[in-house]
């Protein structure tokens, strides 16, 4: 009953006009940026993060959350209408969404995507409410060894699941950790790797890293691409109402996708992408209309879109309750939280209950806003795809530069923006994971502190982590998640079949 009362208080707080306006602005801006191909949720959050600096913590967090959810949905609009996935987690939506649009059923596809996202968002918030308190109480027992095990778990499993070469992904992790050590070491007060520069004593700003790696790098790729806006089908408002048959078929897929996505969101790595594929495979396997998949099956849109949003909700659990981001988007959210002076983790719920439940209510309200606003405004969003490319890219570059400068009012940060932009561009060209670098950069300080403290506690025992039940469980889980996929793939290769764990996404 306390949880319900707390959530009620959170909703009451959301009704404040400023917070409501901020929420709507975040959802709209996130959707707009998400619609634009190439930028994606991570780029959108990175570019828009500086806008939250001037707001108070509640408004800032709600803005960031609105941008996060809005940009997830925006990517599916371009997938359905153009057949061009806005980002990796919208690829699967293209498989059936675009054929539906070509058959004149774009409205139904968009509506089902929005409703599916809403259903999954609702499921995610309900599950978050259920697990928040018990998980917080459980996580309050965590000490340095547990955090060390979790941080290593996050980085190793991400390196495994990010795709591409494990060695190069792990090198990206190393590079991110190296970047995180620049500046003042909090525990000893030693200044490290500043090359005599006073500006670097504060370390490298997370905004510059995030905006450079994901914002500027994407701009460089878009500038290189030289694409032109494609012709899009018109979507009359009336067509946005799905038929009874559409809803009957799509609804179970939405629930399955939402649950599946939430569970995947709890695992480190590209959970949104993986969950969409898992949902698509599941729907195809159990559907009575299997032959329609690939040419306009409504379940092929409903399931993955719900999974995408469910994963976004699931990823909030480790972020809010453990203070650990398990993917790039939540790493950026953590950066946003830190800038607002909010430290998520086991004590977040008990020390800042009003803020915590306002955020949860904000997530749910953002889902409602997505459903209510995005469908009628789909015509406006699609017009954005006709904004001249040169104007769009120029605007984004200016916003990126100014936003990065505004974070700490240091020109050095803009220089780092440039460096990170070059690095991100090169990493994409070489197929090296930028997410691994970003995640390592964000959790680097936690990893270092936990490692040092664990070594002191261990008194020379190399198996110390295995003597504590929670850290031992995490170590075993890490080993399983690293070894099992390898074994499954080897067995599948011997039988001459494709492994069910292989994803047919070739993404850069």
């Amino acid at each position: 009953m306390d949880v319900i009362a707390d959530l009620g208080a959170g909703f009451a707080a959301i009704l404040d006009p400023v917070l409501l306006l901020t929420l709507v602005a975040g959802v709209l801006v996130g959707s707009i940026v998400g619609v634009l191909p190439g930028i994606g949720p991570i780029g959108a959050i990175a570019l828009l993060l500086p806008l939250s600096f001037a707001l108070d913590p509640a408004a800032g967090l709600i803005l960031i959350a609105g941008i996060y959810l809005g940009s997830q949905y925006g990517g599916s609009t371009s997938s359905i209408l153009l057949g061009v996935p806005g980002e990796a987690s919208s690829v699967v939506t293209t498989l059936d969404g675009y054929p539906m649009a070509k058959k004149g059923r774009a409205g139904a596809a968009l509506a089902v995507a929005a409703i599916g996202s809403f259903v999954a968002g609702t499921i995610a918030v309900l599950l978050l409410m259920v697990v928040a308190e018990p998980l917080s109480d459980f996580a309050a027992q965590f000490a340095s060894p547990e955090y060390l095990a979790l941080a290593v778990f996050a980085l190793l499993v991400l390196s495994r699941l990010a795709g591409g070469s494990f060695v190069t992904t792990f090198a990206a992790v190393g590079l991110g950790l190296m970047l995180a050590t620049i500046g003042l070491d909090q525990s000893s007060g030693t200044v490290r790797f500043t090359l005599g520069s006073a500006e670097l004593i504060q370390g490298v700003d997370v905004t510059a890293v995030a905006v450079g790696l994901f914002g500027i790098a994407e701009i460089l790729l878009l500038a290189e691409g030289g694409t032109t806006a494609a012709r899009m089908p018109k979507v009359p408002f009336r067509s946005l109402l799905p038929s009874g048959t559409d809803l009957r078929r799509a609804t179970p897929a939405m629930f399955r996708g939402g649950l599946l996505g939430f569970v995947f969101g709890l695992i480190p790595g590209p959970s949104a992408v993986v969950s969409t594929y898992a949902s698509y495979m599941l729907e195809k396997r159990i559907s009575k209309h299997r032959d329609e998949f690939g040419s306009g099956a409504i379940e092929g849109v409903a399931g993955p879109e719900a999974a995408n949003n469910g994963a976004a909700g699931g990823a909030m659990v480790p972020l809010l309750i453990l203070g650990l981001p398990f993917n790039a988007a939540t790493a950026l959210l953590l950066a946003g939280f830190t800038i607002q002076g909010v430290i998520p983790g086991p004590l977040f719920m008990s020390s800042e209950p009003a803020l915590f439940w306002t955020l949860i209510a904000g997530l749910y309200a953002a889902n409602i806003a997505l459903l209510v606003l995005n469908l009628p405004l789909v015509g406006l969003f699609t017009r954005l795809l006709h904004v001249p490319r040169d104007i769009l890219l120029t605007l984004v570059v200016v916003v990126a530069i100014v936003g990065t400068y505004a974070a700490r009012q240091e020109l050095a940060d803009v220089f780092w923006l440039l460096l990170m932009g070059v690095l991100g561009y090169v990493m994409v060209k070489l197929g090296i994971s930028r997410v691994a670098l970003m995640l390592a950069f964000v959790i680097g300080p936690l990893l270092e502190t936990s490692l040092k403290q664990t070594i002191v506690l261990a008194h020379g025992d190399p198996f110390y982590l295995l003597t504590r039940p929670i850290s031992a469980t995490v170590v075993v889980l890490t080993a399983l998640l690293l070894i099992v996929p390898m074994v499954v793939r080897r067995l599948a290769a011997r039988r001459g079949r494709r492994s069910p764990l292989d994803l047919e996404v070739d993404a850069t």
Binding site: G174, G225, F293, T394, I401
Partner: protein
């Protein structure tokens, strides 16, 4: 080097667009025909990263590693640098093996699209901001780089470029200074809302 699951994507699937087939389906805009580094450029990048790692390791070793209270400031950086350099060395080795194998098999690399200098132009715009903003102020610098980017990225009449430059520079200054309450440089000429208001 492999592909990773991030960012703009293209689907590799069957013509019936399922997830367990073979032929390509719609590609993300901008990925076809894009420049990719050749063997020399890739090796150079790896060597630069190795050099960065090497310098980092040398600096890390100069820091105290261990003390009475356990690990000190240099302990973690040495560990991280060692892992980084090890991974890069392995990747360099694999890369050279692949090159040698391709050379022996007589495999001729496909012609690569040339590097598009518009990329360097965008980076130059960011560098210009860093170099000039303290002197010229935000509005003037943004107007200049907006004009330069529009010339580089599109083909517009001069008056449209001038109009866009003025609008984007003034509105960005207004948005960040007056609406969001953040300070932006107004330069030696004092051109900016921070000076005017």
């Amino acid at each position: 080097m492999g592909e990773s699951v991030e960012g703009p994507a293209r689907v590799v699937g069957s013509s019936s667009a399922t997830t367990d087939g073979a032929t390509p389906t719609p590609a993300a805009a901008g990925t076809a025909g894009d420049w990719r580094p050749g063997p020399v450029a890739s090796l150079l990048i790896l060597l630069i990263l190795l050099a960065v790692g090497g310098v980092y390791l040398v600096q890390a070793l100069a820091l105290p590693q261990w003390g009475e209270n356990g690990p000190q400031a240099g302990f973690f950086p040495v560990l991280v640098a060692s892992v980084f350099l090890l991974c890069l060395t392995i990747e360099c080795g694999r890369f050279l093996v692949r090159l040698r194998r391709d050379a022996r098999s007589g495999r001729i690399a496909a012609a690569r699209p040339p590097f598009r200098w518009v990329v360097a132009g965008v980076l130059g715009a960011i560098l210009a901001y860093v170099a000039l903003v303290a002197v010229l102020g935000h509005i003037l610098v943004v107007a200049l780089i907006t004009a330069a980017l529009l010339v580089l990225l599109g083909r517009r009449p001069w008056w449209q470029i001038a109009l866009a430059a003025v609008l984007i520079s003034v509105s960005s200054d207004f948005l960040f200074t007056e609406v969001l309450g953040l300070r932006l440089p107004s330069g030696t000429f004092g051109i900016g809302f921070a000076s005017w208001m």
